[in-house]
Amino acid sequence: MSLRQKLLLLFSFTVAAAVAAVAWTVLVRIRYVFEQRDQEETALFVSQFQREFQHRSAEVAAAVDRLAASEHARVMAFELVQSGDAAPYLTEAQTMAQDAQLDFLEIIGPDGNVVSSAQWPARFGYPEPAAAQAPQAAFLKRETLPDGSAELGLFAVRAIGGAEPSIRLVGGKKLDQSFLADLPVAPGMTVALYSDAGPGSDAASIPNAPANSSPFDPRHLVGASGDVPAAARYQGLIDAARNSGQQTSGILYLSQRREDSINATAIPLKNQAGQVLAVLTVAISRGGMVDAQQHIRAIACGVASGGILLAIAFSLWIAARVSRPIEELAHGAESVAAGNWDTRVPVRGRDEVSVLARSFNHMTDKLATQREQLVQSERVAAWRELARRLAHELKNPLFPLQLTVENLVRARALSPAEFDEVFRESTATLSAEIANLKTIIARFSDFSKMPKPELEHIDAKDVVERVRALYESAAANSDSNIRFEIDLTNAPMPLNVDPELLHRALSNLVLNAMDAMPAGGTLTISAHPQDDNIELRVADTGEGLTPEECERLFTPYYTTKQHGTGLGLAIVQSVVADHAGTIAVESRAGGGATFIITLPKATTA
């Protein structure tokens, strides 16, 4: 990953993290503020509900009070007590309830049994436990109706004055949708009432009545305008309030969408015995909060996106100021490493990077200068070595020539016969030494005139066979006692080489090997494919080379032979290098030497 990319990532991450941190903080704060507001509204509603509840209670109590004190009720109670016959008053409760605008009314006889019931006329004769309590204040009660349903109501019990034993009235009003509609509800707030016919209801007080279980039934949750949407979602909250008897709050998700969630509070409504008869739910929509949060999230995403774009621009600018000089330095270093010693990087400004660039340029300058000096030194050294070799090579033949010439000069004083003999010997020597000089000069000339390879597509076997044919017969005709061995594979070994130069190189190696085995031995020439290369080996069984000799073997003018020029292996190395190959030597003292030429295999195309 480049420095520019790192900078880009760093800036982007920094901007995004900063925006996310700010957005999260704002979201948490918004949620806190909304929840605070919801709690305050709920608390306000609860207090208003309690006031309304007390107001309703007072209304019910007053209505039943008025009924109990009415002349009609007094007369009815008197006649009822006197006659003991409740039958004529079977429908009396309905009439009285209608007049008093009560939803529930039961006339309870002296025996505590229902004389007349407005809400369940057929229930006459059954006991009404609520009448025995006779509390002064209104109370909550769940009233079972003929169809098996139950209604929650506020009830009051009053004795009709003047009748002894007392006749009681149990009257009440429903706590239903109309009650919910009368409650002061804040905007965004919905209230609902959950009640069912559970244990403790009137139905349970009827002997042998079918047992009512009270698992949560969403149909029993009724709002001010009717059914409550997604009522089943309230189950957990309502059950918690019913089971604990305590006010319970929580967040309810009415659908998969977060904006449909609500902050709901379940308020248990209890009777005087502490039984939970109903649960009032107050729900405040979290839609506003969710909208605000989504709005803030959208803003945060926008800001983060903009920040990341700014980060990209900033990183590009930073790159222009910081990373580009560093990249140029890196490229310059790579160029220097590739051998371009004259590489220079531009220097901008006065900062640390510019100092570094300036130092880099100074370094390359120094390196170029030192390289030039080194080349000049090496060239001088080479010339000196060449001169030394030339002097050494030429000195050997010149010394016999000098002696021969001086001998000829002295021989003039000899007899003509002796002179002739000396002259003949001297001229032979001179010719031999001059030929020796020519050979030396020719070798130097050959080394300096290495031709450019003319590549042909050949098989390595052909080269090996040609060398073997040339030198095997020569070895056989001499008394050197050298045995040739050829190790070739049948697989094709294509090479793209100059056949003459490769023949010349192999010939040099074969001659060196033959020179290395004056007492005879085995000379092995082999060729084998090796991955993408062809490996040619020339091995002898001579005395071998020391490690020092191996290290210097390919240095020009280095030779281990008494009359060698030291150019043979240099020529071989030059040929191999011109064919993009390598040459190496493996040897140990007394174990012979093996020269390995590795050439790239020619492609079939």
Binding site: A87, P88, L90, W120, A122, P207, P210
Partner: protein
Amino acid sequence: MRWTVLRRFATSCLIAALALPVAARTRPHYGGTLHVEIEGDPWQRPDGLARRLVFDGLTALDANGQVRPALAVDWSSDDNDHRWQFKLRPGVHFHDGTALTSVNVIASLTAACSVNCPWTSLRAVGSSVVFVGDSPMPDLPALLASDEFLIALTVTADGKTPNGNIGTGPFQLTGFNNGVLALAANETCWQGRPFVDAIEMRVHRAMRDQWLDLGVGHADIVEVPAEMLRQAQQQRLTVDVSPPVALLTLQVSDSGPLANPMLRSSIALAVDRATLFNVIFQKQGQVTASLLPQSLTGYSFLFPADRDLGKAHELKGGLSTPPLTLSTQGSGAMQLAAQRIALDLRDTGFNVQVVSANAHPDLILRKLPIDGAEPYAALELLLRGAGQTPPIIEPGLAALYKAEHELLDRHTLIPLLDLPRAYASGGRVRDLHLLSDGTPDLANVSIEDAP
């Protein structure tokens, strides 16, 4: 002496003056429109008040429940009551002028009874109608007096279907507007023209409104349900009450959840008749556990009518039933009685819901008519009203008791109360009498201030 003569003369004049209006009241006046209000449907059997005014039967029941001639003047049976021949009254015409013939009568009876008829075949023999049955039909004359077999014109003289309800009764239908059924006197009625010119019958009128209309003079005759009889008497209304003419009964399905006769028996024992009688029906009529009233058979008391909750529990045992449905015909006391019965059954462990309308309820609370003075005919009519096939009963009270006992042992009909019918009339209505089925004899009613 002179004062004595004068005193006697004055006394005579005073007596004559007092006697004059009394004599005037004895002569009914023709004319006027009678205003009647009812809660139900005037065409619906068995209480269809208008049916009795528009249609006649081959026979009729007099006030004592005895069979008397109507459209048939004479009848005879042979072949051990397997064959009956009814001779039609001559000179009788339907309201549209069509003459009453045996063919018309057969067409009407065939239309009224296509299945489960008392007879097997009908045949016209001159001006007579011959009924032939596979089994003896000893009570056929009484059966033909029932509401089910009133004669209506089904095909006119020119072979067309008549437009409307056309009979031979004392009144003919003239219209129905705004809930008021208009009937006009049949001037050529075979039993003589009725006193009033017309009857306006307001239908589906709430009981409280009927009484209000009666109080302010907008109605001449209104209904008084049994449960309101005492209230009517307290309000000093002029009320005519019939003897028990309807059997309040709980009809129990013998299929579905109540296919087990033990459950049906448990239900029969769980119902508290005394509460229904004492409270809901305000001690009117009488508690009964038999199909026929005590006045007809004399053995009704042999059937125990007391509630036995322990036995009911014992019979139900651990048998569980799904929620049962109970429907009832009528409103007011009938609904209340249904709810009370549901409560009674709940005490025994039955879960019963009172439903307003249900195609196949498990229980039906209904009133069945007790018509006539003949117990066999009354039982057959009652069972036909309940949709059950009457059994063949040998003559004799013991056989009747045995048959009724067997019927009750099935517990598909649980008798509860024998109830009367009653009507309250206004001050200008004269000579109101109730027929044997408890309906008012409007054909013989006159209006006092009629022109």
